[in-house]
């Protein structure tokens, strides 16, 4: 039995429905934590901090570009 994609997709989808304002990039990164290399090993502290920092940045909604403003 492994980390098959079905339940992960379902888990992320149900959590994202409850948090509609959270940007897609955050969900992508959280989903990555459940798959592939991140589920094979305990992430070392420095890398954990990097992932957390990235997630915090991803939570900030993208500002409209100058083109968009125009």
């Amino acid at each position: 039995m492994s980390n098959d994609p079905e339940w992960i997709t379902a888990a992320i989808q149900s959590a994202s429905k409850l948090n509609p304002s959270v940007p897609d990039a955050v969900w992508t990164n959280v989903e990555n934590l459940l798959r592939g290399k991140f589920s094979q090993r305990s992430i070392p502290p420095v890398e954990l901090a990097g992932i957390a920092r990235q997630l915090i940045e991803d939570m900030v909604p993208a500002r409209p570009t100058r083109e968009g403003e125009k």
Binding site: A11, I12, L33, S39, S42, M59
Partner: protein
């Protein structure tokens, strides 16, 4: 994928190359303690676990087991190597260098050590382990370890989000900012505040249309108001400065600090008593930790393993979150008080306030001014107790009141200027804190959603564990019923305790009563039997892969009856699997040799270990007489005694096979017959029942009768001396062992090498070897 050979050279107990050669069949290896059986098991673990051997990992073995893996007496120039060859032609060859590094060719594939090898120590360790320990041991076998790793990673990421965002501290600061906003604007909305800013901006910066954003408007307004203030007369400037003294809200600061100190004390008192109650048993607990695998947490009363203690402490910290928030709020309130005292100091020291200050110094406020000048405002940020608060109340509040009264005489235009400046500054702080609040809310939401996904992952683990556990529990029950038929221990199952995460335990019904753990009632032998069933149930889940099952001395604490059932269990549940079974139990080995089918089983015995330079050695015989022979020189009486003990078991089994009738003895004496009893009867029956073919006819097997008679004679005379008077000589012991060995051997055909009970001959009551050269007519003795 079966094992063909395991070859060792200067690895563990091995010296010059030695091979164990099951040759794709199942195998029973017998050897006394220390003869080197486990060296072969170590080799398998070394290969499966990439250079790790669990029982050798300790402080003296070196990081790469370089002190433990090579033979301690390996000569210079010799290499430590191991090789495992498989029946499909693949092989793994490893050379282990003196620093523990390895050079390996080939691969064993994705075998799971825990599902392949079971050692005696591991059975005990598993059963005695904590619920958490069992969870850690079984989860990888359920295939759920990646999910557990992912859940733990999520938990750690959530914690990092909270720490990096300084969530708790910033929440406390925001709470303070909100208090100030309510004081300045009441229940006004953000829009209403922005409108107020727009009006004031229009009032002071009407010529500027540079921006519509609130914060720049606030800044421009403050600059414009300050410019107007700079143009005021000295008297008006004094009013302005005094107003800033009067505006310092020390009273509210003191109230907040006092309230948070009180709240903290309210939560702290029970916490301190609680923690004290924890510390005392914890001291006792620490002394016990090395000896006990599971201890009761003094904080919550749950049983917990030492290795899980750190995790548990983290969990307790989570539980203390509320008090940590109060603690942070108290610190934030002390920070505000500190800032306001500094503002007060700065405002009163301004030159425009000098006349007012001098007048105050001559009156009742002299003490207050002295107190303010000597007060260390920065110290209040880290430590502020009730006497400090009372001092501030008594000495500084009168100064503020006096300054506030003095500003009452200020002209209306000055008052308006001051009110507007104050409003703009409060509006700026409110708008800025709104941005902060958004940051904090985002970080908070992020931490919550990561924890929610972690929770979902854990629910999935639980769901899947339950499914696997239900499946395995059926197998465990079945295997238990084979090992312990009709016994009052039933319904054995693995289960996930409802009151704990990351835990698995074993439930059972003991004489009709449901129990949460086998440790409440089961004896050591029963617990080990249970551990064996669990391992075999796990190993059985891999049946499709046809991987071997290796059992290293796992029946030590089982009695003869239960040990005997293992053959039935292996026969029923693992008929198609290769089993490598190591044992130091001579009687059991003899039983297995007699009971298991030679077509699919091989039997080998190891010689007792002599020295590291000689290393592990195989006996050339499948019987265990070499154990006795090894003692011939030094302790001939022990050698003779051992020969008799071996004969006790061998002859009992032969008598059973040949259905030898023995006179009934009362009670348990029936089960305690000795070699003498069996041999006497066998000699008598052999004369009538044991036949050998000569040409087309069968005649009495006189040679066998002679051989048995000689063994009988020597056992009575010399084995008795070995047991009672201890004066047997080496040559006598040697002759005795040889006679016994030949007596057993005489039941084996010299042509086909099968025993006389190999098969039933055509016609009733005849047993014969494979080729029919020798036969035994049972029931006619």
């Amino acid at each position: 994928m079966r094992i063909k050979t395991i070859s060792l050279s200067w690895f563990r107990g091995a010296a010059d190359p030695i091979s164990m050669e099951p040759d794709c069949k199942s195998m029973v290896v017998y050897g006394v303690n220390g003869s080197g059986k486990s060296s072969f098991v170590d080799a398998i673990e070394y290969v499966l676990s990439e250079g790790r051997i669990g029982h050798l990992a300790h402080e003296y073995s070196g990081k790469k087991l370089e002190n433990a893996v090579p033979n301690t007496h390996k000569p210079q120039g010799k290499k430590t190597t191991l090789s495992v060859k498989f029946c499909d032609g693949s092989e793994v060859n490893t050379e282990i260098r003196s620093d523990g590094s390895t050079k390996t060719s080939g691969s064993i594939g994705p075998w799971d050590y825990r599902r392949t090898v079971l050692r005696q120590g591991e059975v005990v360790e598993f059963i005695q382990n904590t619920k958490g320990g069992k969870y850690s041991a079984l989860l990888p076998l359920f295939g759920l370890q990646p999910m557990e790793v992912a859940a733990e990673n999520l938990r750690q990421v959530a914690k990092n989000v909270e720490n990096l965002s300084q969530l708790e501290a910033r929440k406390a600061v925001l709470a303070q900012a909100n208090l100030k906003r309510r004081a300045a604007f009441g229940a006004a909305t953000d829009d209403q505040i922005v409108k107020k800013i727009a009006v004031l901006h229009e009032k002071y910066c009407s010529e500027k249309n540079s921006t519509k954003d609130a914060i720049p408007r606030c800044k421009e307004s403050v600059i414009a108001i300050d410019a107007k203030i700079a143009q005021l007369s000295a008297d008006q400037a004094r009013h302005i400065a005094l107003r800033s003294v009067g505006n310092v809200d020390l009273k509210s600061d003191i109230g907040t600090v006092r309230a948070t100190i009180l709240k903290l004390a309210g939560e702290l008192d029970p916490l301190i008593s609680h923690k004290l109650a924890v510390l005392q048993p914890a001291e006792t607990l620490l002394g016990k930790l090395p000896d006990e695998g599971e201890v009761e947490c003094p904080a919550c009363g749950r049983l917990i393993g030492a290795d899980k203690f750190r995790d548990h402490v983290r969990f307790e910290l989570e539980r203390l979150r509320e008090i940590r928030e109060t603690f942070n709020a108290r610190n934030a309130a002390m920070g505000c008080l500190c800032d306001d005292v500094k503002i007060l100091k700065l405002s009163i020291s301004k030159p425009e306030v000098k006349p007012w200050r001098e007048e105050a110094a001559r009156g009742e406020l002299a003490d207050c001014l002295d107190y303010l000048s000597t007060l260390n405002a920065d110290a209040l940020r880290t430590a502020c107790n009730e006497p400090d608060l009372q001092g501030i109340e008594k000495k500084l509040l009168p100064l503020i009141v006096a300054a506030d009264s003095a500003t009452a005489e200020a002209p209306a235009s000055v008052k308006e200027l001051l009110d507007d400046k104050q409003t703009v500054e409060a509006a700026k702080a409110a708008i800025e804190s709104k941005g902060q609040a958004a940051d904090v809310a985002r970080a908070d939401a992020l931490a919550h959603l990561i924890r929610a996904v972690e929770q979902t992952t854990r629910e999935q683990i639980r769901l899947r564990s339950n499914a696997v556990i239900a499946e395995i529990s059926e197998d465990i029950k079945k295997m238990w019923s084979i090992l312990h038929p009709g016994e009052a221990i039933e319904d054995i199952c693995l289960y996930l305790p409802k009151d704990a995460d990351k835990a698995i335990d074993i439930g059972l019904k003991f004489h009709g009563k449901l129990l949460d753990s086998p440790r409440l009632t089961l004896s050591e032998g029963y617990r080990n039997s249970l551990g064996l069933c669990i391992f075999l149930a796990m190993a059985r889940r891999e049946a499709v892969h046809d991987r071997p099952v290796i059992l290293d001395d796992v029946v030590v604490s089982l009695d003869r009856n239960h040990r005997g059932m293992i053959v039935q269990l292996l026969g029923e549940e693992f008929a198609g699997r290769q089993i490598l079974l190591m044992t130091h139990d001579r009687d059991w080995y003899t039983e297995l040799r007699q009971q298991l089918d030679e077509a699919s089983w091989t039997f080998k015995t190891l010689l007792p270990y002599e020295s590291p330079k000689i290393g592990i050695r195989w006996s050339h015989k499948t019987t265990t007489f070499d154990d006795a022979r090894a003692q011939m020189k030094e302790r001939p009486d022990s050698a003779g005694n051992d020969a008799r003990k071996i004969m006790d078991v061998e002859l009992a089994l032969i008598a059973e096979r040949l259905q030898i009738k023995l006179p009934y003895l009362r009670f348990e004496k029936n089960d305690r017959r000795s070699a003498y009893d069996f041999l006497m009867r066998l000699v008598a029956d052999a004369k009538k029942c044991f036949q050998v073919r000569t040409g087309t006819d069968f005649v009495a097997h006189e040679k066998a009768v002679e051989t048995l008679s000689l063994a009988d004679k020597l056992l009575i005379s010399w084995a008795n001396r070995a047991s009672h008077s201890f004066d047997l000589t080496s040559s006598e012991a040697s002759k005795l062992i040889e006679a016994c060995e030949k007596a057993i051997e005489c039941f084996k055909c010299s042509t086909c090498r099968k025993y006389v009970w190999f098969t039933e001959a055509s016609g009733a009551e005849w047993l014969q070897c494979h080729c029919g050269e020798i036969r035994w007519r049972y029931g006619k003795g």
